[in-house]
């Protein structure tokens, strides 16, 4: 009996067609027990579809799947669970109103004479949590915990299922560094018990941190299998993008900024702006054509600071001046009138209206500013929409497509376009490149650099420090809901220095 020789999962020649699209065309995957394996590719490469075939959401049109050496036909999600395949999705799909224990054991609750034996259930869940060294009160409602913990709970659920294969679909995109650490520790512990981990992510650094091997897909094809030890990040991106890789490098070079612009009067001046529980009162100056980056961990108050400026949340203290004129933004509407624009980090919940078309979404802010009595004429509408679809390279270039059907990167571009149409004086971008593929990311960065060159002030928020450093003239560092330092982006400033500031800079 040679267990090690049998892969935990072997998929080969998988074909899956949707009307008009061949999503998978000979894709495959070999997953060994006890390894962490990354599944990589651009948006649209077929990662999600392949995972859905593995987890039984989609039935493949052709191809072979074997689990632990046995050819298997996965009939549905339940069947996948029965075959020992558990999945943790990016958006937690548990019930926030139920307790942690109920979520962990949902569908498999221990039963007593009078229905569910809740004491036994709580004990079992607490044991699992302790085993994984998680400090949880399993009787509390899941919704009371942050997203990171909720994700860990869904992994606990997988452990209780005695899963042999754990699929992690973009689990880290809403976690901060500490939380990612927690998740990775848990994954390591599972791996050491022989569980095969399949990890899908946009964060290549995390791939190299966690995984031993990786599979790259492009346009539904299998590009190849590599080990993280022998393939560097540059080459990996080359495999993911194919021939587009050279262009990316070029874009990256052209978008680099060198230093702060010449001294100009500040366009925006915020003083003592704050709101309890969100962010301590802070000062901020942004000049015309200047890009200010906000650096800090998730939860450090980056988003909260931006929301106060835009009036998305009401400031409790402080003042804001634009061009020396006081405008204390109480509503987004007032901020927009003052020339501000804000791309939310959560483009699905706070940015786009999924059911409306690309054109309607692009023009929404402009139409709102004009008021309902003055509709944008059909001519102006089609001109504006065509111009911005072309300028932002939105694909598909179909103005009347519902925006919800676009890929993440293209959705982000539509949201960005909505605010570029307004020709704002200050553009606030909260994580504009999160969850989008490498090519789209470079394009968004290029657009931000272009805006700044044209004289728009930009407030740029991102978890990726390289990106912040590449685009910003000035970096504002936040920690624990307070601004701790402001650094000029000179040649001596690098990621390590900013990390040090995030970790221990400024007043404690």
């Amino acid at each position: 009996m040679d267990i090690a020789a049998e892969p935990a999962v072997h998929m080969s020649g998988i074909v899956k067609e949707f009307p008009g699209i061949r999503a998978l065309d000979g894709a495959g995957l070999r997953l060994n027990p006890g390894e962490a394996h990354a599944l990589l590719g651009e948006n649209g490469a077929g990662k999600s579809t392949l995972i859905k075939v593995l987890t039984g959401v989609h039935r493949p049109d052709a191809g072979h799947i074997s689990i632990a050496g046995n050819p298997t036909d996965i009939a549905g999600p339940l069947d996948a669970e029965r075959n020992g395949i558990a999945t943790v999705y990016q958006e937690v799909n548990l019930c926030p109103n139920l307790s942690v224990a109920e979520n962990v054991l949902l569908g498999r609750e221990p039963r007593g004479l009078l229905g569910i034996a809740s004491r036994r259930m709580n004990r079992r869940a607490a044991e699992l949590a302790a085993e994984m060294e998680l400090d949880l009160d399993v009787t509390r409602a899941l919704g009371e915990y942050p997203i990171a913990v909720q994700q860990l709970v869904s992994i606990l659920r997988a452990i209780d299922l005695d899963a042999r294969v754990l699929v992690l679909d973009e689990p880290t995109s809403s976690l901060d560094r500490g939380e990612v650490r927690m998740l990775f520790d848990l994954v390591e512990r599972l791996r050491s018990r022989g569980v095969a981990i399949l990890f899908v992510t946009h964060f290549l650094d995390q791939v190299y941190e966690l995984c031993q091997r990786m599979t790259v897909l492009r346009n539904g094809h299998l590009v190849g299998e590599f080990t993280t030890a022998e393939l560097g990040q540059r080459e990996l991106i080359g495999h993911m993008l194919g021939e587009q890789a050279g262009e990316l490098e070029r874009l990256e070079e052209s978008t680099h900024v060198d230093g702060p612009p010449q001294d100009t009067a500040p366009l925006l001046r915020a003083r003592e702006l704050g709101r309890s529980g969100a962010i301590e009162p802070y000062d901020l100056d942004v000049a015309q054509g200047q890009t200010v980056g906000l650096a800090g961990l998730l939860g450090s108050g980056r988003t909260e600071a931006a929301r106060l400026l835009f009036g998305a949340d009401r400031p409790e203290t402080g003042t804001v001046e634009v061009d020396g004129r006081p405008v204390t933004p109480r509503t987004p509407r007032a901020a927009i009138a003052a020339g501000l624009a804000y791309c939310s980090e959560d483009r699905k919940a706070e940015g786009l209206v999924a059911g409306l078309s690309v054109a309607d979404n692009l023009l929404l802010a402009m139409q709102a500013a004009r008021g309902w009595m003055r509709p944008i004429s059909a001519k102006a509408r089609s001109e504006l929409v065509e111009h911005y679809i072309a300028a932002l390279r939105i694909r598909p270039a179909a103005p009347e497509t519902p925006v919800g059907t676009l890929s993440g990167g293209n959705q982000q571009k539509v949201l960005l376009g909505r605010w570029l149409i307004m020709q704002p004086r200050l553009l606030i971008l909260d994580e504009p490149t999160r969850g989008i593929d490498v090519g789209a990311k470079a394009e968004v960065q290029r657009l931000v650099a272009l805006q700044s060159q044209e004289g728009t002030a930009v407030l740029f928020i991102s978890s990726e420090l390289e990106e912040v450093l590449r685009l910003s003239h000035t970096v504002v560092v936040l920690r624990d809901r307070r601004v701790v330092n402001t650094l000029d982006n000179t040649a001596s400033l690098d990621v390590d220095r900013v990390l040090a500031e995030i970790a221990e800079g400024g007043p404690r």
């Binding site: 948006n43 959401v57 998305a312 987004p332 209206v353 059911g355 709102a368 890929s407």
Partner: protein
Amino acid sequence: MRAAQLRRLVWPLLVLAGLLVANLVATPGFFEVRIQGGRLYGSLIDILHFGAPLLLISLGMTLVIALRGIDLSVGAVVAVSGALACTIIASSADPGSVQTAAIAVAVALGASALLGLWNGFLVAVLQIQPIVATLILMVAGRGVAQLITGGQITTVNSEPYRQIAAGSLATVPVTVLLAAATVLLMWLLVRRTALGLLIEAIGGNAEAGRLAGIRATGLTVAAYTFCGLCAGLAGIIISANTGSADGNNAGLWIELDAILAVVIGGTLLTGGRFSIVGTVLGALIVQTLSTTVYTMGVPPESAQVFKALVVFLVCLLQSPRFRAQLVAPFRRGKTSHEPPAPSEPPPQDEESDVSPTGTSAGAPDRREVQR
């Protein structure tokens, strides 16, 4: 988009056509229209005439539902409006005059708009859930109507008031003209301005709309006010039709028919995109169904069951999953080498393939729009 919008109307249109043809088969003279005393008569005219109040209410309900709300109080507003108008006429010194009728109508409409405003205030300003907020008036409104009429059925003897229901202009019944004018007015107001877009944006994603700078409060209050006004007009037509105001039974359960009409017309209960033409078709379907029950001689005790069956069928036809099942065998037969028609949407969005397909009964197929 135009093609996609038209496609969404295909099923309601087919259902309506099917119902009419079924009627024609059962009653050969069903399509006959004749002029009698300067007014059109016939089964088709009856559908339009008796369907006018439902259509009016459905129009108002469309905007409210597009804003992810619901208005359960429209039936009660119908009762209040009718009660007010009839009581004013009955207690006036000159009940037969045009002036009295005009005052009665104006007061009734004004009061209905105020009731709608109240709903809007509860929903938009006090942020009470729409179903609860309008439930208040649904219950209270009937009580108010009872108080106005003193618990009696108030009958009026005003020829001008009766003419609202019985009269005609160039042979077309006034009721039909009123409904048609409201449809046109609403279409101009909503689609020729940016009102429709802003409503769809707020209904589709309220937070996104707020951050884009839309003033949702005003829009929401306006929509509920419009809904109240429509219900008020419907109440006047209903009471003019019988020449009486019945606080207990006027417009009873009409809110449910209106919601049904909106949903059959393809507007999702989850808010967002709405279709005025769809609602018109929906209201006509519901009304035709009521007429069919009579013309086909369905016994009154099974009439409701019959109606429910047809509605169930309509909802089935609108379910994307059911339709895929329905056409699958034919498709397979035609192109035997192709893989079977999948029932999943194409994976356009890599990060979250949780497609926001509507789950309500009348969900139009978003996938159609994608292609």
